[in-house]
Symmetry: C2
Subunit: 414 residues, 2 copies
């Protein structure tokens, strides 16, 4: 079964918002074994919407539209659908009742735009959107299905999860696509590719391996296609194990796991409490760690010592160290990590200090020079990075390196 | 002039990576007045690449391909281009010399995959990629232009900025598209739309207004199309001012400004030093603030008090307060903010404590209950939010609300 995803909105084409909906939908459709053939972003343009629906319906079994169903005047998707189908618009009373009730509960008035939302193409089956005012719509067109949803991510996700995916899963054929993702940190794409060359040569024809590098990490994605799902699952597991054995030190996890989750699991296993002392990453590493549900079980807190006086007063970094080695040095991050252990009363801590840019670089320590330290009460490991000119990229890359240092430190500590 | 952007890679279709390249390219093309007609993501599939290039070349003057030029085996874009153009592949000696030099400087060996990268379609004009090994390629096909670039964001951005955009800007016609973006925080899409209804009714036919809501903020985008650039600029400025006058209290900035940048400017103007005390946002607010270049000039640091003992020991929150009101209360965030002012020696501080979820909720304080306080040495303002079930969404939404509280506090303080 083939699907096409269409996102509608000038704001995507002019780059003002990044389309994250399509990636989420792609993941969900794939889990059902539905192959996403194409993702298309087009303008809020009546004729372009009609043309794109026509082309997508011809080449796919399922067409998913998002965007252009909100309560404001730039919403023309449903009118284009009605014109494509050559049907009238009709006022949908149950939707109007639902919207009125929703606003009554909030103690607020509806606006005329909300009434406008209740006009929908006559042949639509309405999908109940409990997360917002715009209804989802389902159309059967010959052997194909067209679904229209609002572009607001949590409304779309609600409709997909509760209405659309359950209906799709009934209609599936017998061709299966499966994926396994192996997550690595610590080496670049080319180095890993060289180590996996002989592995790629033994890959069966119905399998593919893709490299997806991102800020110090490379995801390796194995994809297999076949009719026998059980056999396919067995084969992909065998291949996955074979691959992992070739680069065991680099693999930190699988599928959608994050480095922060892996570090969290190791901390729980080893019953260790973690703290942090961040300078140039300004809270980003702590944010990565605390994105994980349950991180309050092992993460106590952090001191963001952006100013040198806070490094001294809160973390106990010596004035002498700052004077002789500077804030961006092995000595400083070591004292920051040791200071965080004491101050936050934790078993181990990570410390980061560097020049994120764009200003602040010198000849000796250019922008992108960043020091990290991981310490427990008896040992410390430091690491120097020489990164990029881009501030945000330096912050994000360093966050990943820091998490990987924590992982390796915890694995060695046993 | 019309452009189509094509991104190639199964990893996008199965949702494993989010396509951020297209948004960046869309922004840059628009600044030149080039209209992006469509953004298409397709598979690493030889025939689909050929078909998509063919269709895009027919409907656009410019076709930009990204993805599928890396050094690993899943790279088939350039072979598809060669087959589309019906030309041979040729070894490009200068690219090979450049790659060898690059690796010599790093003190590393090239791999056979790097040599593979130097084979390119015969009719390509090579675009020098100083950020990586894969060359960019430029093809003139009748009156249209096809450009192929690596999918790695900083390599693509380098090629666009230094090679592609300068060449495009020479080829422009006389139709102009211009945009103005008005940034708001504090009210939802429907409320703003109701306030702007009469504004929308006076909008000339060649102008459009779009609403782009995101986590507590709504971006309003005005777009105008016309032949006379000077007149268009004058008219859009007039409309922008008219719009802002209708919702002055909600507008925090324009175009690509961020709330964190606006807060930073106010702090510099008012010569105030800021600190933070974060619990449930775990460093995210500090990360937003320190993403801004130069933020070390006004942001001193923060204490991430994830554990209650750190709220007590580092921020001086009273045991009595925690016992009687809990960590998620107006009283606690007030003491956290006041504690941060003392501890970090700053003029003002923001404090946040709440239940981000998914665990930790109670009947009285469900998941999504979050308290914020902004204080200086003489006053304090608190705010309670009742948000969502989603952890990351709660963290991000709260970050924006916190920044907007800081903005309003600074504006009132004068």
């Amino acid at each position: 079964m083939q699907a096409t995803i269409v996102t509608i909105g000038d704001e995507i084409l002019i780059g003002q918002i990044i389309d994250t909906n399509s990636a989420w939908m792609g993941t969900e459709l794939n889990l059902l074994g539905i192959n996403v053939k194409e993702i298309i972003s087009i303008s809020d343009d009546h004729q372009q919407i009609i043309d794109t629906i026509g082309r997508a319906i011809q080449s796919s079994d399922l067409v998913l539209l998002t965007g252009g169903l909100g309560p404001t005047k730039d919403d023309i998707t449903k009118k284009a659908i009605a014109d494509y189908l050559k049907v009238e618009m009709e006022f949908h009373e149950p939707t109007w009742n639902r919207i009125q009730k929703f606003f009554q509960q909030l103690g607020r008035e509806t606006t005329p735009a909300h009434k406008e939302q209740c006009f929908i193409p006559k042949t639509a089956a309405v999908l109940l959107n409990k997360m917002g005012t715009a209804p989802g719509m389902w159309f059967e067109i010959g052997n194909s299905i067209l679904v229209s949803m609002p572009g607001v991510p949590y409304e779309m996700k609600y409709l997909m999860t509760h209405e659309v995916l359950p209906k799709f899963s009934q209609k599936l054929g017998d061709q299966h696509i499966i994926h396994r993702t192996i997550l690595t940190a610590g080496e670049g794409e080319s180095r890993i590719a060289a180590k996996l060359e002989s592995f790629e040569n033994i890959l069966p024809n119905n399998f593919k391996l893709a490299y997806l590098p991102n800020l110090g990490m490379v995801r390796l994605r194995l994809t297999g296609v076949g009719k026998n799902k059980t056999e396919l699952e067995k084969e992909i597991e065998r291949l996955k194990e074979n691959l992992v054995q070739r680069i065991p030190q680099l693999v930190f996890g699988f599928e959608k796991e994050t480095l922060a989750e892996v570090v969290g699991k190791l901390l729980i296993e080893r019953k260790k409490k973690l703290g942090a002392a961040e300078s140039c990453t300004g809270g980003y590493l702590s944010h990565l760690i605390t994105q994980v549900p349950g991180s309050s079980g092992y993460f106590q807190g952090a001191i963001i010592a952006y100013e040198n006086s806070i490094k001294e007063n809160q973390l106990g970094v010596l004035v002498k160290t700052l004077r002789e080695h500077g804030a961006v040095s092995a000595e400083c991050v070591t004292e920051m990590a040791q200071g965080a252990i004491k101050k936050l009363n934790v078993d181990m801590a990570i410390a980061i200090s560097g020049i994120a840019g764009p200003g602040g670089g010198t000849e000796e320590k250019p922008v992108g020079t960043i020091w990290l330290a991981v310490a427990d009460r008896s040992s410390v490991q430091t690491n120097k990075l020489t990164l990029f000119k881009d501030r945000l990229k330096n912050i994000e890359y360093t966050g990943n390196v820091g998490l990987n240092m924590l992982r390796l430190f915890l694995l060695e500590a046993k």
